[in-house]
């Protein structure tokens, strides 16, 4: 392992390598801090540009953007009370209170250090765990992989709060759209309606460019989102938050464990882990209960550590099993496949250099992000005051050119436009887009493994239930779906009963 890390360091220790990581960290921080945009948008936008890049540098750039944007989300939360990314939502509750009192430096300094503390160990854990998981992954057959994909999709569908049916409808639509294109077993075109442009199916990059970049900017314009003026907020330099960290050491460790574990689970991601970590700590801190929500530093530490702890967690299933946990990891998979690197259990055997390079780049990026945040803290208000009339036109043009480059013809732009409309339509009817995207990503893997499993089985579908690992994943997936149906139903019934009792009493 150490040899690979040394080799990766050698590969990245060039002027170009350092520049890419530094650039990625700054761009990620900038986009992460801007409310409305997140690192995911800039990554989707830049994906097609990496076609001609050295794969090592492309992956280093992307991991730096990811770490930068995850860390930068707290800037908007603390200075404006508007989270830069959804994962920094919980930071607003206490972080912004400090700014209102005229002390933004304390929460910002704590957040910057917590971001680093969350990122670094999570990547080290990912480095250690990925090998074991990959060794285990090699022993699995198509039955287990199909069950894993089902479980991942079920977990994401379970998040469709209040409307499981619409979440499942998103999954159905994704299956239908993914069925257009080559059959994953025979490679023959399927459901192409005689159109040669559909022979290769829809590229996930085009879908994401439409559903994220194009749709987000369209909504920002429709809803008249204004550039936030934070120029009046004075932020002096970084102040070492040693005492705050030491006083909240238990909070930090617990939040780290929560973030890393939830990050590892598919689909749940940082927005869930930060809220859970925040609520846990708030409930546990009996001494300062009244301070939470009114500017308690523990309320900044919990979400910011959990947020970044998820980075390493999410990398484990993506690299070791080839199953992305969220949309960001899908983009990593896309960059890797563009450069001929297939993730999955065999990756650790066939291309371990690439895996360790990604981890090493992540560690360097975490350090760079820390340095940029510490050194550039007085510039944070300027970050979030960037005028949208300069930012958005460039994002749109880069996205559409990227769409063209991805397909190599105008069909790419057409698909991106249609994906933008589809995203808007889904939002309008309340169909969540996350289960759709997750199914779109896993569809081909799921179909291939179901069919291979059936081809190789003696008892047909029953074989999926005979193998313990496969059965385990199916049961977990079904449990998630059942619980998300039963619990809201019980809650609704209780509410109805309470309301009836109240009217009776009146």
């Amino acid at each position: 392992m150490w040899q690979y890390i040394l080799d990766s360091l050698r590969a990245l220790a060039s002027v170009t390598g350092v520049l890419y990581i530094l650039l990625g960290s700054i761009v990620g921080l900038l986009f992460g801090s801007l409310p409305g945009l997140a690192g995911g948008t800039v990554m989707v936008m830049l994906l097609p540009i990496t076609y001609k890049m050295n794969p090592v540098l492309a992956l280093a750039l992307f991991i730096s953007i990811h770490i930068g944007s995850t860390s930068g989300g707290c800037i908007g939360s603390i200075l404006l009370g508007i989270p830069g990314t959804s994962s920094s939502m919980a930071t607003v509750w206490d972080g912004y209170e400090f700014t209102k009192r005229g002390d933004p430096v304390r929460p910002l300094s704590v957040a910057v250090v917590c971001n680093f503390i969350g990122t670094l160990p999570s990547i080290l854990i990912a480095m250690a765990a990925a090998k074991f998981l990959a060794d285990w992954g090699v022993k699995l057959g198509p039955w287990e992989y199909a069950a894993m994909c089902f479980c991942a999709v079920a977990m994401v569908v379970g998040l469709s709060e209040g409307n499981l049916v619409k979440g499942i409808a998103g999954v159905g639509l994704a299956i239908l759209l993914c069925s257009i294109g080559p059959d994953p077993i025979s490679g023959r075109p399927r459901l192409t309606f005689g159109n040669m442009y559909l022979y290769d199916g829809f590229n996930i990059i085009n879908i994401m460019l439409g559903m994220f970049a194009a749709k987000i900017i369209l909504l920002e314009y429709a809803r008249r989102t204004k550039t936030q003026d934070a120029s009046k907020i004075k932020v002096r330099g970084f102040k070492w938050p040693g005492k705050d960290i030491l006083d909240n050491l238990g909070n930090l460790i617990r939040s780290f464990i929560t973030g890393a574990f939830i990050g590892f689970l598919p689909g749940l991601g940082a927005p869930t882990s930060t809220v859970i970590a925040y609520s846990n700590e708030r409930n546990l801190d009996k001494k300062h209960k009244e301070l939470w929500g009114h500017g308690h530093i523990g309320g900044v530490i919990a979400p910011e550590v959990a947020n970044n702890a998820g980075i390493g967690g999410a990398m484990i299933p993506m690299l070791a099993l080839g199953i992305p946990g969220d949309a960001i990891m899908v983009q990593f998979l896309a960059v890797m496949s563009i450069h001929g690197v297939q993730s999955g259990p065999m990756l650790m055997t066939t291309n371990p250099e690439m895996v360790y390079m990604l981890y090493t780049a992540a560690i360097i990026a975490a350090l760079f992000v820390l340095l940029v945040e510490v050194g550039g803290m007085p510039l944070f208000p300027k970050f979030i005051s960037m005028p949208y009339h300069f930012l958005y036109p460039a994002i749109i043009v880069i996205s559409f050119v990227g769409a063209y480059m991805t397909a190599g013809n105008m069909m790419g732009v057409i698909v991106t436009l249609c994906a933008c409309l589809l995203g808007l339509g889904m939002d309008y009817f309340g169909v969540p887009t996350t289960p759709f995207i997750m199914m779109f990503i896993l569809s081909s893997l799921l179909e291939k493994n179901i069919r291979q499993g059936l081809n190789r089985s003696f008892d047909g579908v029953i074989d999926f239930f005979k193998r313990p690992v496969s059965l385990g994943f199916i049961v977990v997936g079904l449990l998630v779906l059942v619980l998300h149906t039963v619990i809201p139903a019980i809650k609704a019934a209780k509410e109805k009963k309470n309301a009836a009792a109240q009217t009776e009493a009146e």
Partner: protein
């Protein structure tokens, strides 16, 4: 449209999509290998899921009222920007990247500057957006063509004129 009506419309749309795909899926060829359920299996699963969800949405629509997704005025604004997206598609095909990119950059920059700098006079707004469009358009051209050596669309109309 209230939420109940919206859900019923969604249900009908889901059913229609499901029927459309079902019709074409049934026309696909059968499995070529023994034991393989064939290329029809997965789209059929998609059809069943979509149809069942469609029926459930029609039968049990959401009764809670939610905030409108976009107001009428916001829809109009969204349509305006989408119109520019569509114009990009037509223009980049017709006249190529070199002309389309600065035009789109300029148009979108002017649109957004009404929100970010509402008090600016027209002249200033246009001049600033024009300078921005030329500089960023040029930089993007250099990035794609010189640095990344990408073949960008040069414009189908020019080719027609040359003929």
């Amino acid at each position: 449209m209230n939420t109940k009506q919206k859900d019923r419309v969604l249900g009908v749309i889901l059913l229609l999509i499901s029927l459309f795909f079902f019709y074409f899926t049934m026309q696909q060829e059968a499995a070529r290998f023994e034991g393989d359920p064939g290329p029809k299996m997965f789209p059929l699963i998609g059809c069943v899921i979509t149809a069942v969800c469609g029926i459930l949405t029609i039968v049990h629509p959401d009764k809670k009222e939610h905030k409108a997704y976009l107001s009428k005025e916001e829809f109009k604004r969204a349509a305006k920007l989408f119109g520019l997206y569509a114009a990009f598609l037509v223009l980049i095909w017709g006249v190529g990247f070199m002309i389309t990119a600065p035009l789109l950059l300029f148009a979108i920059s002017v649109l957004f500057s009404f929100e970010s700098r509402p008090d600016d006079p027209w002249g200033k707004r246009i001049l600033r957006s024009a300078i921005y469009a030329v500089i960023v358009g040029g930089a993007l051209y250099l990035l794609y063509v010189t640095v990344l050596q990408t073949q960008l669309p040069t414009g189908a109309l020019w080719k027609l004129f040359k003929k």
